[in-house]
């Protein structure tokens, strides 16, 4: 039951000293990667949270509107609620696709170019 340092971990190098990854910070490829990430993730989070807040506010203050029937027993509130599920699935899919195409390749390239080639170190 006592934990001992495993062979794989003993073989792995120590975490990088502070400042070594920072050398990549001024690399234009890193600037581009950061821009791509922020440009996508921040607005999408904002839009998504606004869509959710709209739903909560309508539930609280627009009950007449939410109660309106669109079809037999299917009202606006139900459709709006299911729309939150749809937005969640859609956002997750959009981000996964964007990240695989636009974020993963440059991140991998930077890892390979990184200080002392220290990419892909798993414990």
């Amino acid at each position: 039951m006592t934990a001992t340092t495993s062979a794989t971990e003993a073989a792995a190098p120590e975490p990088l000293p502070a400042g070594s990854a920072a050398a990549l910070h001024d690399d234009p490829r890193f600037r581009e990667l950061r821009l791509r990430f922020r440009w996508f993730a921040f607005p999408l989070t904002g839009i998504f949270l606004a869509w959710y807040l709209l739903y909560v506010l309508l539930c609280a203050y627009a009950r007449g509107f939410m109660a309106r029937e669109l079809a037999d027993h299917i009202n606006v509130a139900l459709v709006f609620g299911l729309g939150q599920f749809a937005a969640t699935f859609l956002s997750a899919w959009l981000y996964a696709r964007y990240a695989a195409r636009r974020l993963d390749p440059p991140a991998a390239a930077l890892r390979a170019a990184g200080p002392s080639g220290a990419g892909c170190r798993y414990e």
Partner: protein, 562 residues
């Protein structure tokens, strides 16, 4: 009733035996600190996604949401939606950078960049407080769920349930570490999804797969008509404050998930950030379909069993899912009914165990890694010593949770789950987001944000109708049962009491009418973090800038990730 009890106990014994065996096997393969804290970082995205579902979907979300749907209709859906959409914040802003920049705990990602033991202490304390509140709610909830499902309501049975749940979770964590806990969560999530799928398809089949038919029958049987299908029966029914309360709950749910320590540590169990992203996507698929199914289960219970019958069995509606299972199997007294009831009850037990194990692991990891190794010993420990401390901490935290739960077993502590989400959103989220994305963020800002958010959330609840139950325009007087009137010390016909389960006084009105603190405490947490940063910003050194450069590169590229 007794045939299903025997069967429930038999099924549950099988579950316990299987998970104990898995835990022992996982424990044999646990050697390094990375094994104990992070399952060797070797789980696949699918495995971790399922385990995240198992960690996240608590008995409160299965039995509780189905119950709210069955009794109050549409408003239960608000919970499901809040619990699900929160994952987008976790996916887009937190999962990958955290995986890349942290090591074992939530505090790692915050404190390493700020190079500050004070920040580590603050984040560690917040981790443990959030986890213990959540744990208390689950364990006290377990006691009442078990007595409901097994039909035994003696005080001794509640105490023994709490002790048994606590002992099992301590075993899972100390012996199996993250590997054992993860497998318990995977087994539970698979069982829960099977149970939910079977019930959903069965309910829909009863209505010829017509959603409108199901909704119509639910509205008819609820006695509330079409109002049952509209928001407002449970939340925001009285005055302006109660609508704000509903919004406050929604905001806390959506911002809290991305800052719940027991969820965040799951991101460390996969090899890299890409795998963390994929596991969140799996989790979203699993959790999303689960909450869609609870909609059918909850409305199905209202339509087929009837809100009145459910409310008669348990006023909070926690037995809606199991009553529905019994009905689908052929009704009370039939063999099929007993089998279905036993199966769903066993799934509910499994659900409780998997969640409490995850919480105990997160809090004991934080104690050992952040408070003991990181601060008390200032990093001068070996992995072996740290893991030993984590195991001891799991026993101690488990024992404390058992003692507190036994003490609180008669109290209405369901609010603690919502409070845990609110504290996570108020205390942890500002520190996590500012630490990852704000160059000027300082130690003082982090400490101020964590304690500002934590204290404001707790104080708000301490002044709320949860603690002070006097009748007001927000909490109109309720009709008291004889036992409640006796407990509150008022005459039977009294109109003074708005919340008979209030923790301190049933008759004194609450100074703050909000039950959910998030609307105030989340902005307070962010404001404290920002103010602390701006007030101390001049003391920033070039090393602070380099540390942030380092974090940015690591977080986005995975260079030097553990």
């Amino acid at each position: 009733m007794s045939d299903h009890k025997t069967l429930t106990i038999a099924l549950f014994t099988v579950f316990i035996a299987a998970t104990l065996a898995i835990t022992i096997v996982a424990g044999r393969r646990t050697r390094s600190a990375a094994d104990f804290y992070a399952g060797g970082r070797a789980f696949s995205p699918l495995q971790n996604g399922v385990a995240i579902g198992g960690d996240y979907m608590s008995a409160a979300s299965f039995l509780g949401i189905a119950g709210i749907l069955a009794l109050s209709g549409y408003d239960g859906f608000l919970y499901s939606i809040g619990f699900l959409v929160a994952w987008i914040v976790a996916l887009l802003l937190v999962a990958e950078p955290l995986r890349n920049s942290g090591r074992f705990t939530m505090a790692d990602a915050i404190a390493e960049r700020l190079r500050s033991p004070q920040v580590r202490v603050a984040a560690g304390i917040s981790t443990i407080v959030v986890s213990i509140f959540y744990l208390l709610a689950q364990m006290v909830g377990a006691a009442s769920v078990v007595s409901l499902l097994l039909g035994v309501s003696s005080d001794a049975s509640r105490i023994w349930t709490i002790v048994a749940v606590g002992a099992l979770m301590i075993f899972y964590v100390t012996v199996g570490g993250m590997k054992g806990t993860t497998w318990v969560q995977i087994v539970k999530a698979v069982l829960l999804m099977i149970g939910a799928c079977v019930m959903t398809v069965w309910v829909l089949a009863k209505f010829d797969f017509s959603l409108a038919g199901l909704l119509g029958a639910a509205a008819d049987q609820s006695g509330r008509g079409d109002g049952f299908l509209q928001p407002g029966l449970k939340y925001g029914a009285t005055d302006g404050w109660s609508k704000l309360d509903m919004i406050s709950l929604g905001i806390a749910l959506v911002l809290g998930t991305a800052a719940l320590p027991h969820i965040l540590v799951r991101f460390y169990t996969v090899p890299d950030a890409k795998a963390a992203r994929k596991s969140v996507n799996w989790a979203i698929a699993i959790i999303g379909s689960f909450y869609l199914m609870t909609l059918v289960i909850g409305f199905g219970a209202a339509a087929l069993v009837g809100s009145k019958t459910i409310k008669a069995a348990d006023p909070s509606g926690n037995t809606a899912a199991t009553r529905l299972a019994e009905f689908l199997g052929g009704g009370p007294g039939s063999t099929g009914g007993a089998v279905m009831l036993a199966f769903i009850a066993a799934v509910a037990f499994a659900t409780i165990l998997a969640v409490v194990a995850g919480l105990t692991l997160a809090s004991s990891s934080s104690f050992a890694h952040d408070l003991y190794a990181g601060v008390l010993r200032r990093g001068r420990t070996t992995d072996a010593e740290e893991v030993r401390v984590a195991r001891v901490a799991a026993v101690v935290i488990g024992a404390v949770a058992i003692a507190l739960s036994v003490f609180a077993r008669e109290l209405n502590v369901a609010f603690l789950v919502a409070l845990a989400f609110a504290i996570a959103a108020s205390a942890n989220l500002p520190a996590i987001l500012f630490s990852l994305f704000w160059r000027r963020f300082t130690k003082a800002g982090a400490v101020a944000g964590v304690f500002g958010g934590l204290i404001s959330a707790v104080v708000m609840v301490g002044l709320s109708p949860i603690v002070w139950g006097g009748a007001s325009s927000t909490k109109p007087a309720v009709t008291l049962s004889a036992a409640q009137a006796d407990k509150c010390g008022v005459p039977a016909g009294s109109r003074e009491v708005g919340n008979p389960t209030a923790l301190v006084s049933c008759t004194a009105a609450a100074p703050i009418p909000l039950e959910n603190p998030g609307l105030v405490s989340i902005p307070v947490g962010f404001a404290c973090a920002a103010a602390g940063t701006l007030l101390t910003g001049r003391r920033r050194t070039p090393e602070d800038d380099t540390a942030f450069d380092e974090l940015e590169v690591r977080a986005l590229t995975g260079v030097g990730a553990h």
